[in-house]
Subunit: 158 residues, 2 copies
């Protein structure tokens, strides 16, 4: 699939050119940050392989590569929470993607049920110790994960 | 350094608890997306090791781990473009960080001179081919990289 993209021939062309030549890591993946096109919150940080990036660009809906299931994943296929892509950006060295999306249904993007995967903050200007406590930034889940995903395996791994 | 964090003991505690137990990858890194606290633009996607994360939390200024230089990097140490951290969030499975920052000086975060590293977009609902062209989303650089970085090696690698 990655033969569909231009080869990376020079730093200047990668940074200052209009040639799309994404860099996939050793596992064939590129990280992707996804934000809400209206509220601008960061919803999630996922990964794409070449196939997921191509499908996302061509179809205008977000596809990722699930590292836990080792397959391309059409976001919302199970939950109905499709991400309609408003804009796709790529960074200076073309090794990261930014999607700006509008989320269907309840508007949630997190498998735990929250709107954003980033529902907790780390208190700053505090000494790190085993006692430091995360603070909740969202006060309720937008859906019940058991109702939506049933007994599908949890993607979170220790 | 990572012994300063709690061990990951259960999926439930990682996702639903208030215990900070970040997951670093095989290289000891965790990806970090950084947004502008006022405009909410995504400025960059970087990586932290345990030391960079601890310094960022404790000092309230952004530190990253430079993969090209293989060392902890105080963002803005050379350019003066320090990132003052307003909020740090962590995601559901605690393997990604989100920093919301206020940038000093010209407000730029990209080593190429732009405000955001994501200064180009990929046109959506277009067939991917070698002819697809990136579109410029920022129209001018906020600083001259040669003036600021001189002949320091470019972090972009092919």
């Amino acid at each position: 699939m990655s033969e569909k993209f231009h080869k990376r021939v020079s730093v200047e062309e990668v940074e200052e050119g209009s040639t799309l030549s994404p860099k996939f890591d050793k596992n064939g993946l590129i990280p992707c940050v996804t934000t809400d096109s209206e509220t601008h919150e960061v919803l999630m940080l996922g990964y794409m392989n070449a196939e997921a990036l191509i499908k996302t660009v061509e179809e205008g809906e977000a596809y990722y590569f699930s590292r836990s299931r080792q397959k391309v994943w059409h976001k919302g296929a199970t939950s109905g929470l499709i991400q309609a892509v408003k804009e796709i950006r790529i960074d200076d060295d073309q090794d990261s993607i930014w999607l700006s999306v509008e989320v269907g249904g309840s508007g949630a993007s997190c498998h735990v049920g929250y709107k954003s995967c980033f529902y907790r903050s780390i208190p700053i200007k505090n000494k790190i110790s085993k006692n430091i406590e995360l603070k909740w930034e969202e006060d309720k889940k937008l859906f019940d994960p058991i109702e939506v995903y049933g007994d599908a395996p949890n993607p979170t791994k220790l």
